[in-house]
Structure formats: structure tokens, C-alpha cells
């Protein structure tokens, strides 16, 4: 609590402190009075109940005071929240792309990264895009969260005010690996940011870059372990059983099969796995050339 990690922390924590203060007061006061009454008017000491008249004044008082109090709470909640929805005119726009179960961030110059790097003290607007189901981008340290909804253009913004790295979590249930859908945001100096942004070189195999960019690796491991889909390790050239329209058949993992697994994943479903998890078609996301890169890369994974 009470850091200064983003420009919203103050407003949120202030409204929290106000509501918490009132709450603790009421909790302690009411509980204490209740226990005090129960002890004081215990039947052993107080065998005959006293006469207490209905008291309309009291009723009105304890209706009006809480009403005023909750309106105050509402007001601070609103004030802490308002700036989150007032988007700055010029800010860095980054696309935050969510899909089961990973985050990707696409910068204006085309750079794609699985972590978010932002310069300190600069307004950043995230355009939230989901490729499949609901997700929610949550940065606890910044006190911000907004759902990522397929087909709807939600966005959020913030200013990182302290250097460091902070967790990005997914806060809307999205399936098996919901709790692993994490990333980091790095708040760095302006200069560091621009060198990072313009460094597009990568040592990765071009095929691996495509896999990472499209978050394939969140379901397909490269080391033989089973996550959600079959591992890519050693998959090239093996013979396996698939189910095509309810009928089992044997196939060899070759160019054509991989291509169709990407463009029409539900046509042949690998035995032992659930259909419908991969995006219905990657046609708009992965070009034919990129598929070739993937195949070349898979060949190297022995």
C-alpha cells in the first residue's frame, strides 16, 4: 500500500483509507456495544427487562447519518476512479493482445514483446484486444484493471512513476492456465526505453519468433512436456493418431498436416487432446511464409 508506482495509486488508496476508517469504526463500535449490552443486561443481573419506547428520532438519525456517510464514500471512490477514464491526448499507444494464456504487447513501430516496457513519467495507453475469450489485464501495483473482451475495444492508461518491474496478471477466469497468464511491466528511463524499442534484432530462429509472437508456446512446449496441446519437440515426421470427423486415422506430421493444423485446427484433432482450444483459424494472423518458418523451426526440434 501507499507506494507511488502509478498516477492512480493515491486516489485509490485514499478512498480505500476513508472507507476502511469508517468501516473499522462501525465494526468496533457496534460489536463493542453489542457485547457490552449482553454482559450488562444479562438475565442473572437484570432479570426484568426495562421498558424502552420506540424512538423515531433515533431511527431517523441512524438512517440519515449512514446515508450521508455512504455518499461521501461514493464520492471519494468516484474521484479516485475518474482520472482512469480521462484519457490523455498524447500518449504512447501499445496494443495489449491477450489470448489463452499469454500476453503480447505490440508497439507502434511494430515491435512485439511478451513483456511490457514503458518509460518513466510518460502516459501510456493500452488498447486491449482479445483473440479468444475474456481476460482482464491487472497490474496490482498500479491499481488498475480492465477486462479484455473479444470484439470490444476496451482501453486503459497509466503513468509509471517509479522505476522497477511489476506483475501483470490475468484477473478474469479464462480456462486451465488462467493462473499462469502472467507477465511483467518494466518501468525504465526514457533512454533505455528508446534503445530497447528500436532494437528489433533477435537471436531466435524466425520460426520461433512467429511461435512466440502468436503465443503458440503457451500451449505447446518446446521441451517435450505436455501443457495443453502436444509438445513441439520431436513432433516433426512422427506418425500419430488423429480424429477426423469422428473417425480415427493415422497420419504423418508433414508440411501439409502442420499447415492444416494451423489454418484449420479442428479438422484433424490429435488423439488425447481437446478440440476447439486453438483459435478457429490463424489465417489472418499467420502468413504462408510464416508457416514455412514454423515448419523449418519444428524440423530443428529433435
Amino acid at each position: 500500500m501507499f507506494t507511488n508506482a502509478s498516477n492512480f495509486v493515491d486516489g485509490v488508496d485514499l478512498s480505500f483509507a476513508i472507507i476502511l476508517g469508517a468501516s473499522v469504526f462501525f465494526l468496533v463500535a457496534i460489536t463493542a456495544i453489542m457485547i457490552w449490552f449482553v454482559i450488562k443486561y444479562n438475565r442473572k443481573k437484570h432479570p426484568k427487562p426495562g421498558i424502552v419506547k420506540e424512538n423515531h428520532k433515533l431511527e431517523i438519525i441512524w438512517t440519515v447519518i449512514p446515508t450521508i456517510l455512504v455518499l461521501v464514500m461514493f464520492y471519494y471512490g468516484w474521484m479516485g476512479y475518474k482520472p482512469m477514464r480521462e484519457f490523455p491526448k498524447d500518449s504512447i499507444h501499445i496494443k495489449a493482445i491477450a489470448q489463452m494464456w499469454s500476453w503480447n504487447f505490440e508497439y507502434e513501430n511494430g515491435k512485439v514483446s511478451d513483456t511490457l516496457v514503458v518509460p518513466i513519467d510518460k502516459a501510456v495507453t493500452l488498447d486491449l484486444i482479445s483473440r479468444d475469450v475474456l481476460h482482464s489485464l491487472y497490474i496490482p501495483a498500479f491499481r488498475i484493471k480492465e477486462d479484455v473482451i473479444p470484439g470490444i475495444d476496451n482501453k486503459m492508461w497509466f503513468i509509471g512513476q517509479e522505476l522497477g518491474d511489476y506483475n501483470i496478471l490475468c484477473a478474469e477466469y479464462c480456462g486451465d492456465r488462467h493462473s499462469y497468464m502472467m507477465s511483467k511491466v518494466y518501468v525504465v528511463q526514457e533512454t533505455e526505453y528508446s534503445t530497447w524499442l528500436n532494437d528489433k534484432s533477435s537471436n531466435d530462429h524466425p520460426g520461433l519468433q512467429v511461435l512466440k509472437k502468436n503465443a503458440c508456446t503457451s500451449c505447446h512446449s518446446l521441451d517435450g512436456s505436455k501443457i495443453i496441446g502436444p509438445s513441439f519437440k520431436g513432433v516433426w515426421g512422427i506418425t500419430e493418431t488423429v480424429i477426423t470427423e469422428g473417425v480415427e486415422r493415422q497420419i504423418t506430421v508433414d508440411k501439409e498436416y502442420i499447415r492444416s493444423s494451423i489454418y484449420d485446427p479442428n479438422a484433424d484433432v490429435t488423439k488425447g487432446y481437446n478440440p476447439g482450444l486453438m483459435i478457429t483459424t490463424y489465417k489472418d494472423l499467420i502468413t504462408e511464409d510464416e508457416v514455412k518458418d514454423i515448419i523449418e523451426y519444428l524440423k530443428t526440434l529433435k
Binding site: I19, F26, P49, E59, Y76, G80, E146, H178
Partner: protein, 533 residues
């Protein structure tokens, strides 16, 4: 036979055998049927809860796989909400005591009452059958959010259909109670001579009738969507997932008041009895039940503050959420004021009532924290929310039910429970409960999202405390149940009115006869809670 002194047979003795129970139209028997079936489902839900806690005792895989965990919390939520809490108080205590408390011999439509129970059991079996059929229970969370609920391969349709049937059962109970209260009150019992438990049931029944159809049709749409594979709520096919959320919460927010209002009614019965004083602010409590029922319809959007609704909508939903808290505050103040200058008898039901007030306060006040826009953005879908709703639902309604089980134990089963054992088990339950759920509030503040199978190492300590708390609580609950079960055989015979209560159920024998009253019940002219001293 001619003299009134001869005690008539209790409703247990009137007829015997399994058939005389499962086809009975007697409201007391139906209430008990509900009690036992509800209790069984509750145990399943509770065990699932304990399994979850066990999984969460350390990060990484402990006892189950991620997918299993997701199915477990979904089934836990579905059972607890649709099979336990929504029917709970009305179906059990409402059925048994509503007719007696308003001085009549049954509900308005006894056969429909039986039908609701049958539908309830059917729905329950459907929900449990997802365990064994096909790909296992749904893994969507009890909210069934689209489009995930349309895509997943698990048994969503069956679970959703179960919820649909249960909704139907709930509607019929509500309808029955409304008509009963309108038509069957004792001729001398005006609206404001009616005890507060029937008042609470009345308010609840209206919510049941008016809100449940919406969820019914929404769930049918989810099924149709899955069966025909198209997109009413799936954006890739033109639908709108936010619309689903609106439709879901239009019911499910009012539903939380279905869960808590009758429990508040129970508290309003127990406190005056043990304080030996008329309830303070009778009318204020009755009206605030109606106010909650009414305002409760317009706040559903507070579950969707981060979903991308329009700005003004978020602001309006937030302000209404705060307003709906006021009637609850009024009730709380009146309960405490009833204790003032009373002559207080400390028995287990009172202890549970006090724990209710304490825990409902925590639950309600944390509700205010997440009702505020700024804080909800941070806390939405974190363990803070999980803490909030367990405090109101379990710490509130659950504890009120435990209290009522002791309060009316003699009336229902004709024997008295063992007071000392009951108080000890109460101690365990109370302590265990708070160790189980308070850490969740802190976890939420630290930023641990809910529905997380695995968590970051910094959350470990609090999760361990919480899990250990669940064991203490189990111990308490086992003690409580053992005590209640044993007392049925060994307890002393219950008198007509063990606590000096003033409402009509204390005027008849324990347990009551088939027709509830053997002599004309006397409706006190001074109002329901007048103690002659």
C-alpha cells in the same frame, strides 16, 4: 378423545414409511425433506471447499490438476449458491414455520409445494450427474461467462440446465409464500402484527418471482448456443458477451438478497426472544426488507465495473450500491438496540446471532469497499471479493441457519440439544471461520486474483493460515452436528416454549400436530414480540 387435555399425535406419528414422506404435502414434512436433501448437497459443497483449500496450501500442484481445480470451484459455487443458499432458509425454516407463525395449517398450494421439492431434487441430481457424465463438471465458474462457457468441452449444458430447473423450483416456492401470506394469515393478524420472519420471507418471495425468470431464459440461451454452435453471446459470431453479463447479474445480484433477507428474518426472531424485549423498530425492519428487495434490483452493474460499461452507467450503479447498504445498516442498529435494557439469556442461538451481526458487518462493510469505483477496480476478481462473499453468505446466512437449527431444535424434533456441547462447537466454528476467511481479504488487497490454481510465493503464509482455519472450522461443524444428531435420541423432552418466545409457533406442542394447532392460536394484540413480565 373429547377433552382438549389429550395431546394429539405429532405430525411424525400421523403416518409412517418412506412414501408418506416423499409424497407428503404437509409443509413441515416438506421442510424436513428440504433440510435433509439440502444438508447432503451442502456436505458435498463443503468437501469440495476443503479440497480447494488443501490444493492452495502451497504453490504449484498439491493434490490436483489445474483443470480439476477449475471444475471443483465451479461445482462448489454452483452447489453452494443454487442448491444450498438460495433455497436454504425459505425452503427449510420458511416451509416449517411460516404457516405456524401466521396461524394456519399449511401453505396455500400444498401440492405445488411438494412439486418444488421434487424439482429441487431433480435439479440437484442433474448438477451432481455432471460429475460422472462426459467430460466432467463445468469449468467456467458459477457465473458461466460467455464466450468461455460456449467454448469449453466440459458439461456446461447439463450444469446450466440444472440451474434452470432449480430456478423453477425457487419460483414456485416464492409464489406459494406470497399467496400464503396474502390469503392465509390468521384473521386477527394484520400486516403489522405479523412476525418479522414472515415479513422477510415475503420480501424474498417477490425477488424470487420477479428475478428468477430472467436467469432462466438466459441459461436456456446458453444451452441453445452450445447445442447449435452459434453466437448469441460469442463476439466472433456477432454476439455480445457483455449482454450476457448484464442478463446474468440482473438475476444474480437480487439473488444475493434472496440468500440474506430470510436469514435476517431469523435474527429478528431470535434476538427479541433472548433479550426478552419487543424488537426495537419493528416497522423500520419490515420496511427495510422491502427496501432492500426493491433497490436490490438496480445495482447489478457493480459486478461489471471493469467490463467496459459506459462511464455514467458505472457511476450510477456505484451510487445505488451504496444506497442499498443503508437498509441493512438500519436493521443492524435495530438489532443491537433491542438488546438495550433487555434481560438477556445467553444460549447458543443468541451466540450465533451475535456472530452473525459481527460477520455480516465485516461482509457488508467490505461490500462497501468494493462498491466504490476506485477500490473495486483494484479489488475486482481478487480474493477480497471471495472474502466478502463468504463473510456475508457463510458468516451471515450460514450462521443464521446454524442458530435457527438450535433455536427451533426442540420445536422440530421434540428434544433439547446439549447446551454445553453446542457452545463449545460454536467457539470452534467462530474461530475457524475467521481464520479461514479473514486472510483472504488481505490476500485480495495484496493483489491475488481469484480462481487461481497456483499463486506467487509471497502469498503462501496467508494461504496456509486460511487452510488451517478450514480444519478448525470442520472440527467445530462436526461437533455441532454430532451434538444435534445425538440429542435427537438422548436429549430431554422439549417443552412447548423453552425460551419464552412470543410468536405463535411457541403456542403449539413440540413437535406440532399435523394441523399445527389443536386450539385456536391467540394472536397477541400488542404485536408479535410482546413479553409479559
Amino acid at each position: 378423545m373429547s377433552t382438549a387435555a389429550i395431546q394429539s399425535k405429532s405430525f411424525y406419528e400421523e403416518k409412517k414409511g418412506l412414501k408418506s414422506w416423499i409424497f407428503s404435502t404437509d409443509h413441515k414434512r416438506i421442510g424436513l425433506l428440504y433440510f435433509y436433501s439440502l444438508g447432503s448437497f451442502f456436505l458435498v459443497g463443503v468437501i469440495l471447499g476443503l479440497l480447494m483449500r488443501l490444493e492452495l496450501i502451497s504453490p504449484g500442484e498439491t493434490i490436483m490438476k489445474a483443470k480439476t481445480y477449475n471444475q471443483v470451484f465451479t461445482l462448489h459455487g454452483v452447489i453452494m449458491i443454487f442448491l444450498f443458499l438460495i433455497p436454504s432458509v425459505p425452503a427449510v425454516f420458511g416451509n416449517i414455520f411460516l404457516p405456524i407463525m401466521i396461524g394456519t395449517d399449511d401453505v396455500a398450494f400444498p401440492k405445488i409445494n411438494l412439486l418444488s421439492w421434487w424439482l429441487y431434487v431433480l435439479g440437484g441430481l442433474f448438477a451432481l450427474s455432471t460429475l460422472v457424465v462426459g467430460d466432467g463438471p463445468a469449468d467456467t465458474g458459477w457465473t458461466f461467462y460467455a464466450p468461455y462457457s460456449v467454448k469449453t468441452g466440459t458439461n456446461v449444458s447439463l450444469a446450466v440446465f440444472a440451474a434452470f430447473i432449480l430456478g423453477f423450483s425457487s419460483i414456485l416456492t416464492g409464489l406459494n409464500f406470497i399467496v400464503t401470506i396474502h390469503r392465509l394469515r390468521h384473521p386477527k393478524m394484520g400486516w403489522f402484527k405479523m412476525p418479522l420472519f414472515p415479513w422477510a420471507l415475503y420480501a424474498t418471495a417477490w425477488i424470487q418471482v420477479l428475478a428468477t425468470p430472467i436467469i432462466g431464459i438466459t441459461l436456456l440461451m446458453i444451452i441453445a448456443e452450445r447445442v447449435f454452435g452459434l453466437g448469441l453471446f460469442d463476439p466472433s459470431l456477432g454476439g455480445d458477451p457483455i449482454l450476457y453479463q448484464h442478463l446474468f447479474w440482473i438475476y444474480s445480484h437480487p439473488a444475493v438478497y434472496i440468500m440474506v433477507l430470510p436469514a435476517m428474518g431469523l435474527i429478528s426472531e431470535m434476538i427479541p426472544t433472548f433479550a426478552k424485549r419487543p424488537i426495537f423498530g419493528y416497522k423500520a425492519i419490515a420496511y427495510s426488507s422491502m427496501a432492500i428487495a426493491f433497490i436490490g434490483y438496480f445495482v447489478w452493474g457493480h459486478h461489471m465495473f471493469t467490463s467496459g460499461m459506459s462511464g455514467p452507467a458505472r457511476v450510477i450503479f456505484s451510487i445505488l450500491t451504496f444506497l442499498v447498504a443503508v437498509p441493512s445498516a438500519i436493521k443492524t442498529f435495530n438489532w443491537v438496540a433491542t438488546l438495550y435494557k433487555g434481560s438477556i439469556l445467553i444460549k447458543t442461538p443468541l451466540l450465533f446471532s451475535m456472530a452473525f451481526i459481527f460477520q455480516f458487518l465485516i461482509g457488508g462493510l467490505t461490500g462497501l469497499v468494493i462498491g466504490a469505483l476506485a477500490t473495486d477496480v483494484h479489488l475486482h476478481d481478487t480474493y477480497f471479493v471471495v472474502g466478502h462473499f463468504h463473510y456475508v453468505m457463510f458468516g451471515g446466512t450460514g450462521f443464521a441457519m446454524f442458530g435457527a437449527m438450535h433455536y427451533w431444535y426442540g420445536k422440530i424434533w421434540g428434544k433439547m440439544y446439549n447446551e454445553k456441547m453446542a457452545q463449545i462447537s460454536f467457539g470452534f466454528i467462530f474461530v475457524g471461520f475467521n481464520f479461514l476467511y479473514f486472510p483472504m481479504l488481505i490476500l485480495g488487497l495484496m493483489g491475488m486474483p481469484r480462481r487461481y490454481y497456483d499463486y506467487l510465493p509471497e502469498f503462501t503464509t496467508l494461504n496456509v493460515i486460511s487452510t488451517v482455519g478450514s480444519w478448525v472450522m470442520v472440527l467445530g461443524i462436526i461437533m455441532m452436528l454430532t451434538n444435534l444428531i445425538r440429542s435427537k435420541k438422548r436429549g430431554e423432552k422439549a417443552p412447548k416454549d423453552p425460551w419464552g418466545g412470543t410468536t405463535l409457533e411457541w403456542q403449539t406442542s413440540s413437535p406440532p400436530s399435523l394441523h399445527n394447532f389443536d386450539t385456536e392460536p391467540i394472536v397477541p394484540e400488542e404485536g408479535p414480540y410482546f413479553h409479559k413480565v
